[in-house]
């Protein structure tokens, strides 16, 4: 950790210790059961809030503890020590669903929604992807038509993290013309007439997380639930993506970190051909390369985070960091399973879960290919 001293002070360190305790006491003893059950108790949101974790990164007036990018990174890194990307993604659905409300919602909406989510009483999530397409945000089809002081919403969303359990859904809808200029964000609430949640989707990884389809059939949403300007949602979505992508960088790097730590422990214990695995040059060099790649990725992520914290536009850099981090985590989790051999293929081994959970990181929050498109566009291509 000594390499990261530039970005973290002793307050970050105390927070790290505190979140790590939370993970050790309240998550790790149960995580294997929760993964197998495909869910964790809802009260964990409440516990995380009571431990002061949920409010990190949000303004104090709504029950948060102030905006500091590296505090958020510390909390996310330590939560990843739960070894469950799904649990982190579920808790983290709040961090992609709520910020648009905080940034662009009306005062009335903020005052009503934000404190309840930060206290862990309510769950927020973000709904952009549709059955017809995910990456092509500008061409989304869910329609919201103004009817007096309401919007009438028709359409559907899919692959929505926390989609089953959420109370508040920050939903991208079409309010205007085709293309990015006709997209808006609406806060749709559980229980609103015409809104139903489909089945819990079964996934390769992220088992502890509930992922769902959402259906809107003449769903009536008060116009006051509009987040940001009408037809100005595309900008909000893209801005929101920056923070989400940074957190995905952190998740990818921690996936690599934990996989590496698991391997370092294993190769010192496991013997083959009369020697410990750690004594084989092929293993040593593999681990050296894993560590080198991870180090570069982590430093890159921190650098981008520091620029973002300083208020710089990092659309290109955060996209690069995400692609770099997920390429590294693809490689590292693959190698980690290889080092573990047969046991790495067995359920109950941490590297097995990391390998599965990792796969989504190069897809969610903007695919690898979309990231490259963003980068290319920023290069003037």
């Amino acid at each position: 950790m000594s390499t990261t001293l530039d970005y973290f002070n002793d307050t970050h360190q105390m927070l790290r210790d505190s979140v790590r305790r939370f993970v050790e006491r309240d998550i790790l003893p149960h995580i294997d059961d929760w993964e197998e059950a495909g869910s964790f108790p809802r009260e964990l949101y409440k516990k995380a809030a009571e431990a002061g974790i949920s409010g990190i990164g949000y303004p104090e007036q709504y029950g948060g503890s102030g905006e500091d990018v590296f505090m958020k990174i510390v909390a996310s890194e330590e939560l990843m020590r739960s070894t469950s990307g799904g649990l982190v993604a579920s808790l983290g659905s709040v961090d992609i669903g709520l910020p648009p409300v905080v940034k662009w919602g009306s005062e009335e909406l903020k005052a009503r929604v934000v404190p309840q989510v930060l206290s862990g009483d309510k769950i927020a999530c973000l709904a952009i992807t549709e059955p017809g397409g995910g990456s092509d945000v500008a061409n989304l089809r869910t329609r919201a038509v103004k009817d007096g002081d309401h919007y009438i919403v028709n359409g559907s969303k899919t692959f929505i993290t926390s989609g089953v359990r959420a109370d508040y859904y920050t939903v991208a809808v079409r309010t205007g013309e085709p293309g990015f200029g006709g997209v808006s964000l609406l806060l749709i609430e559980k229980g609103m007439p015409g809104f139903t949640v489909g089945r819990t989707l079964k996934k390769t990884g992220w088992w502890a997380s509930d992922t769902a389809e959402l259906f809107f059939e003449d769903c009536r949403v008060p116009a006051t639930n509009l987040i940001g300007p009408e037809n100005g949602g595309f900008f909000c979505i893209m801005t929101n993506f920056q923070a989400e992508r940074l957190m995905l960088c952190v998740m990818a790097n921690m996936t690599s970190q934990i996989a590496l730590e698991e391997c370092l422990r294993y190769v010192k214990e496991r013997e083959a051909f009369g020697r410990r695995l750690a004594q084989f040059q092929v293993t040593r060099h593999k681990l050296a390369e894993m560590a080198t790649q991870l180090e570069a990725s982590r430093e890159f992520t921190y650098r981008v985070a520091a620029k973002m914290a300083a208020g710089q536009n990092c659309i290109k850099e955060v996209s690069m960091a995400k692609n770099f981090a997920t390429t590294v985590s693809d490689r590292v989790t693959y190698d980690a399973v290889q080092i573990f051999g047969g046991s790495g293929f067995m359920r109950g081994t941490v590297v097995e879960r990391l390998y599965r959970d990792n796969r989504i990181l190069a897809i969610g929050g903007g695919t690898y290919e979309i990231m490259n498109e963003v980068i290319a566009k920023q290069m003037g291509l």
Partner: protein, 249 residues
């Protein structure tokens, strides 16, 4: 009412400790340190008493090097109002610690001293009892429940085969057992607040306490590695082995 909470900096309970190569002790270099878990319970109990309105001020105190300030900051992030570091580079033993704490008790005049029943490094379980004896205060050790009532405190103690409840006149010393409470986590706002709370340092030498060790550690060894077990086919075989081979029955 003022509460004094003595705490200790120890190796984090999740660290797998290693014995030093020369068998003089446990390796502490580059090892993660934390507040002793029983001390966290003591801080939590004090904070709960404050939240109930029984206690008005919580003072955390520790003895050790400058590094122990970290644990005092943690105590303040958990709810202590201020703290005192009794600074020494010596490896203080329970009697010296109890004498140093007595000096602090005389200065601070707390109505309650709540501390962990033992630290997970030395497992001595002596400091609280010695402090009570030196100060003449009553003691309620291994507390699983603490109820303050006027100028008295009822302490439920975990003893072999059940619970014993004692009533003490204040001021008193209480040592905390594992099941007294479940400590909270230090939240970011409270960590920030803790940075502004006062942390005083006194030199151990200034307290006039003799820190010379009364016991000497001869050798520290790791527990012997456990050898593989065997499976027995029947209860008869098990009893026979316990009787004839293990010779335990």
């Amino acid at each position: 009412m003022k509460v004094l909470v003595p705490i200790k900096r120890v190796v984090d309970y999740n660290v797998k400790v290693r014995v030093k190569a020369d068998n003089s002790g446990v390796e502490l270099a580059n090892v993660k340190m934390a507040m002793n878990p029983f001390c966290e319970i003591a801080v939590e109990e004090a904070v709960r008493l404050k939240e109930k309105g029984v206690v008005t001020e919580i003072v955390a105190v520790t003895i050790g090097s400058k590094a122990a300030q970290e644990q005092l900051r943690t105590a303040m992030a958990l709810g202590a109002d201020r703290s005192i570091l009794i600074e020494t580079e010596e490896d203080a033993q329970p009697l010296a610690i109890a004498k140093a704490l007595k000096a602090i008790v005389e200065k601070e005049q707390p109505q309650l001293v709540i501390l962990g029943k033992q630290a997970i490094d030395g497992d001595n379980s002596q400091t609280g009892q010695m402090l009570a004896a030196l100060t003449g205060m009553g003691q309620g050790t291994f507390a699983s429940e603490v109820v303050v009532d006027g100028d008295k405190v009822k302490v439920t103690r975990e003893v072999d085969g059940g619970f014993q409840t004692v009533e003490l006149k204040l001021p008193a010393v209480i040592t905390t057992d594992l099941r007294l409470n479940e400590p909270r986590y230090a939240s970011l706002p409270n960590i920030m607040k803790a940075k502004k709370k006062p942390l005083d340092t006194v030199s151990a030498a200034d307290l006039g306490v003799d820190f010379a060790p009364r016991t000497k550690t001869l050798k520290v060894e790791a527990p012997a590695a456990r050898s593989a077990g065997i499976k027995v086919a029947s209860v008869e075989e098990l009893v026979s082995k316990l009787k004839n081979e293990a010779k335990v029955i």
